[in-house]
Each structure stands twice: as C-alpha cells, then as structure tokens.
Symmetry: C2
Subunit: 334 residues, 2 copies
Amino acid sequence: MGNINLKELALALNLSTATVSRALRDSHEISTETKKKVLELAKKLNYEPNPSASNLRSQKSKTIAVIIPEVTNNFFSQAINGIEEIARQHDYHVLIYQTHENSELEIAFMRRLLSGRVDGILISVASETNDDQDFKDILNELPVVFFDRVNENIDAVKVTTDDYESTYKATTHLIECGCRKIAYLMALNNLSTGKKRFAGYLAAMKDNNVTENEALIIPDSNNDDDNYTHIKKLLLDEKPDGIITSIENLALPCYYACRDLKLNIPRDVKLISFSNLKTAPLLNPSLSTITQPAFEMGKEAASILFKILNKKYFEPNETLVLKSVIIKRESTGF
Amino acid sequence: MGNINLKELALALNLSTATVSRALRDSHEISTETKKKVLELAKKLNYEPNPSASNLRSQKSKTIAVIIPEVTNNFFSQAINGIEEIARQHDYHVLIYQTHENSELEIAFMRRLLSGRVDGILISVASETNDDQDFKDILNELPVVFFDRVNENIDAVKVTTDDYESTYKATTHLIECGCRKIAYLMALNNLSTGKKRFAGYLAAMKDNNVTENEALIIPDSNNDDDNYTHIKKLLLDEKPDGIITSIENLALPCYYACRDLKLNIPRDVKLISFSNLKTAPLLNPSLSTITQPAFEMGKEAASILFKILNKKYFEPNETLVLKSVIIKRESTGF
C-alpha cells in the first residue's frame, strides 16, 4: 500500500495542510462537510499520520489522565479500575485527578495537562460544570473521552448509561410495589446525566397515571448533613411511600432519617437508589439499586481513547450507551 | 540575620559541599554524626537553601504523588482526601497511583516520578513489598513520607496508627464478650503493619489466658472468592466464637459465609474488623470496627511532606503514631 503524507493529502484535496490537519483532529473550526471529504480521501489513500511527528505530540508521555469528581464514590473507583486494566494492556500509566465537583479545578487540571504530560484524558465532569468554551479549547489540543457525566454541548466521544430508562424502570418498579407518593431525590441537574434521570422518573409517573407533586422533588445539597435534614423534613411533611435517589450519596441519609423517625423500610417507605455500593446486599434492609456497569464503562471509555490515540480520525463523535441493572432487594419489599 | 551559602557552610565545617548537601538531604551515605554536625551548624548560622537552586529540583512541579494499593479501599480514598486538603492549601496538585499490591509496579511508578514530575511522594506500600534497595535509591533523590503501610527498613518519616494496641483492644473486647475461640484473619504479614496487628492479637490472647490455636489463624489470599471459601471452611471445621479481621476486605466475606451457613452474628460468632466503611453502622448486623483516622493520617502525612519540601533538613526520621478507635456495634453484641 502507498504511503501518502499530510502535504500530499492536502494537495490532493486542494486544501491547506493546516486545514487538513485540523480536520483529521476533528477540530470544531472545520466544517462537517470538509471533515467528511478529508476523512474519506485519507482512508482511500491509506494515509497514516507520520509516526515521529505524531509521537512528538500524541505518544510521548505514555500516560493518560482520569478526571473525576471523587474517588470515595464507588462508581468512580470501580470505573478507574476498568480504565487501568486497559491502560496496562497498552503499557500506559494512569493519573487520577479529583475535582470535588469544582469546575474551576477541573479546567485548571485540564489546562495543566496540555503541557504534554498526558496523551489523552478521560473525564466525568463536575456537577457544576458549565463553561463549554474551556472544554472546546482543550479538545482541540488533546483527545478527550467523556464517561458517565458528559457535557452534551461538546462534540466528543461519550460513554454513558441508559439514565432515562433506568429511572423509568425504577419508578415503574416502585409503582408496581404499590407506591403512589414517590419522592425523587434529584442530583446532577445541571448535567444531561441528571436531566435524563429526572425525565425518566417523570415519564414513568405520567405513563402510570401517578400524580406528580413538586413537594416530593428534593434537590441534592452536596452536603450530607443538609441532605439528612431535607430528607427528614420530606418524610415528616409529605409522607412519601417510595423514594428514588438519583445518586448513591443520597441513599445513606435516607436510612438514617428513616431510622431516626422510626419509619420501617420497606413497610412505611420503599427505597431504590443509584448505587455501586459493595455492601448494598448486606445493609439493613438490603438496598434495591440501579447499578451502573462502572468497571465496564471505564474499560470502554479507555478502549475508545486508545483507538483515538492510535488512529484518531477513524473514531466518530458518538455516544456509547451501556445498560444499568435494576437489582430488587428488601428496601423495595423483595 | 546573615545569609550563608552552601559553600561557606561546607568551609566552616571543613567538609566538601557534596557531603554537606547530602547531609542536608539526610542521605544514607552520610554518617549520623556528620549529619548532626551539619544540621546543628546550619541551624546556628541560619542557612537557607538557595531558593533558585533548590526550586530547580524541589519546587518546580508543584505536584506531589500519592502511591497506594487501591482507591476502592475506603481507608485509602479517605486518606487521599486528607492529603488533597493540605495540598490545596499549598497550591499543589496531587497525582494518584494505584499499585494493586504489585511491588514491581510500585517501584516503576517511583522511578518514573524521579524525572521531576513531582516534588515528593506519599506512599502506603504494596503488601508484597520487599526490595529495600529500590526504596533507598529513590529516597536519595526525592522526599518520601510513608503512611499506614510502611517499610520498617527505610529511614524516612512514617505516619502509622497504633496497630498493636488496636488488635490488643479488639481481642480483649471479644474476650470480654465471652469469646474463647477467637479466629484471626491475617493480612499484610510481610509488612510491619500486619505483623504488629497480629502481635497485638497474640499478646491479648496470652494476657487473658486464652489458648492460641494455629487452626484459627487464616491468611488473606488477596481474592474475594478464596477468602469466602477459607472463612466458610474455618467456620465449619473450627467453629470459632469470635473473629477479628485485620483488613476491611475480609469483613464482607465473613457476612456472606455466616449467612450461607445460617450462622447468626453475633449470637453464634462475633465479628470485629479493621474498617473505614461508611456503611458499617447500617449493615445487618451493624459492624464493630477498628476505625483508623484515615483522613487525619492523610493530612498529617501531607503536612510533614510539605515541611520537608520547605526546609528539608529540619525534619527528623520519626514515626508519628495516630490512634484508631474501637467502635462497638451489633456484630459483637452491642
């Protein structure tokens, strides 16, 4: 097979080398039409990026970065292990950065990583993330794959779970268990992840003709004590017969609030939570969960990043959706 | 106050600048006596390392590394948060590396960090750690603080907990609860951490005239399924009335083994475990724990590392021992 270089490819396309290079890197500065033209001819002519030139930028560090909100969150620690498994196969190192939900720290980490310290980034964004331009700037410089918590406004590969379907099924499960006053403990509401989870709940309520009630929808406060107080108030004032918590962190305050109010789970109130807690089956009562395939998501996201690192222009901007599992246990009466 | 440089300090001591420099870095190549002489005069003459020269090596990255076995272990994820709190105060970044108990990976990480990527290292060593020389080589190049799992053969600052006293107290607690056949689930037995925990158990057994029995001592296999099988066999063959697990990972297999054998905790067998599980109070039954001050240990270890980074020769090679807490819950009959 022939070996065509960037200059020859640009000549064949009647474009500048800079434009072709940007198109191959899938830059937002280049139109979709031009990108398509470039990618098609690159594929046809069997264009391979010059290894030494490309290595200068993309493969010198043999390191990738993982940027996540918290390692104490079981979902993320399991996802990291999936990422590391793939990185080891490629003889790569993994750096882990915690944002603690702070978007400024998140962008500061990413900017520092542009210095060549890493070849690519896997990120699950902070709940307060909002500045798209910062992400776009970084994506022009470095391959980034989003997982679980994604930024919808950015063109990049994303690995998520079926958030809408998960809460739809969990809500339906509670309704089938006899619940009619189902509270929703909302989180991540700035992100598509959180919006989809909430939408799944609302849709299941509507489809089953269960009345929606704003007083039953409680936003996450990012503080365990406050969450405990809000949940206790919810239980006292509104007397829900079912609760869905949209993140793991909100499940334990429900246990404590019920215990302190002498409410029996599941008799007085049923509970199901997004959770990757290893102890969920051993809790008193055991916790019904929406369990995301955290380890597999880490593996998938890392595998895609390595594909991009190897032949970056073959990877489309797509969203890969893995399925979560609903595990029914005592907290919903099973 | 006067400002004396390294050359003048060496002249005053009648030593080479290389020797003085090594003594200030606390190198193992320099005798304790010489180090003492150098440090005393350095202090007396108010010697401050030349900031630009020292920054070249020690402060250019504004990053520290944390090397730990697993982020999925609650102790470590909490310790990391303590480390990050201190790092943020110093405007430093934290890189997290997981060894998964592999000592080759551990040394490979440390060697890569020597390139100037970080200014210092906080490490809790892998359970299979054994090569002292590798550590000594790295300590000559970069400040390292050990926490929790330390290498006793290395002269460096260490932050640990009162491992001996903790298992001594936990064993005594089980004896006071009426246990006479107390099994010990051993782990980390290559490390002083594990050895001290085991010694505390043996001493408490002896001091209370409880017969020791080798069949009741089960080593950790580093694999959840194997641990479950070994614990089940222990429960069937030896019928212990109490169990101490020397790491958190061994507690959950005890719950599963008892459940599957229809043994009631605490009636048939009492259980206490080293653990930083947030869900310990909510388990069925709630778990009595030896809880290490993980967050505080991270803070202490990081604080010491920053002291060393700022004026490295003032910090002695000492071991700081923090106290763990015994929390009595239902699994020991409370």
